[in-house]
């Protein structure tokens, strides 16, 4: 069996079809188990990945109809890169969600939790977005405690 010095990467391209994010989580689960992440950590990455995927599905207005995912396996952490070639967005203009306003009817938009979920479930989230599309790079460290 041949093994090269290249970083160990798994790439996955999924079409923009409802529920296709589940295919991404299945792939992620295999990669994370391979890397010996804990079940809780695996669960956290799956949820963050779903959010990044459904954002690309819903908001990107991508013309090529696909979302590009890369799992970069490093010694003690996994990078998950989610990319679309859509319209992009300006992070500055995204309002921070506030539960009080949403529950009491002050804010009619009950949604807006995706980015917060990614950030709380991963160790780092980097967002690059512009007219060429959006790329989100999420990092999960493999710690003993299984907590981010």
């Amino acid at each position: 069996m041949q093994q090269t010095d290249q970083p160990k990467e798994v790439s996955l391209t999924i079409p923009i079809i409802p529920d296709m994010e589940v295919a991404a989580t299945q792939t992620a689960e295999a990669v994370l188990r391979f890397m010996a992440f804990t079940p809780d950590q695996i669960d956290e990455v799956k949820h963050a990945l779903i959010e990044a995927c459904i954002n690309a599905f819903e908001h990107s207005a991508s013309k090529d109809g696909h979302v590009y995912i890369k799992f970069v396996m490093q010694a003690d952490e996994l990078l998950v890169v989610i990319q679309d070639f859509g319209a992009g967005f300006d992070l500055e203009t995204v309002p921070k969600p506030e539960i009080g306003a949403k529950v009491t009817g002050g804010d009619d938009y009950k949604r807006g939790w995706g980015l917060m979920m990614m950030e709380s479930l991963m160790d780092a989230v980097e967002i690059e977005s512009g007219p060429q599309g959006t790329r989100i790079t999420m990092t999960k460290k493999r710690t003993e405690e299984g907590q981010s």
Binding site: M20, D43, H47, I99, K102, V103, K110, R111, M117, S120
Partner: protein, 119 residues
């Protein structure tokens, strides 16, 4: 389709509370079905609802936003909504969102029933 979501509803014989059991990935469509089940129960007069998430280990933020709508409707009728049997990740997510200020999270259904009856 990839997501086979199922819901079952259980009513307290004395009419004090009802429990919604979910089974499967809670995405937008599944969230809407939970919302409809909750609306139906509220229309029947139930103001204490429990959502048992034991068989739902994955939820997305669209699904969660529909749960927030249920909480909002519950607040309007001064009812109470509680969740039980959450995975660690879902528990963490609900907590970080601040959802726990408006809906209690219980370890299991028995505790949730005790909890909503005390409210």
């Amino acid at each position: 389709m990839i997501n086979q979501f199922a819901i079952t509803t259980q009513k307290d014989p004395q009419g004090r509370f009802a429990v919604i059991h979910t089974d499967g990935y809670i995405n937008n469509l599944a969230g809407e079905r939970i919302g409809e089940a909750a609306s139906l129960l509220m229309a029947e007069g139930y103001s204490r609802l429990i959502i048992n998430l034991e068989k739902s280990t994955v939820i997305n933020s669209i699904g969660i936003s529909i749960l927030i709508e249920i909480i909002e409707k519950m607040q309007e009728i001064h009812g109470v909504l509680a969740f039980c049997n959450l995975t660690k990740t879902i528990h963490k997510t609900f907590t970080i969102m601040g959802l726990t200020q408006y809906a209690a999270l219980y370890e299991n259904e028995a505790q949730a029933i005790r909890g909503v009856l005390e409210t």
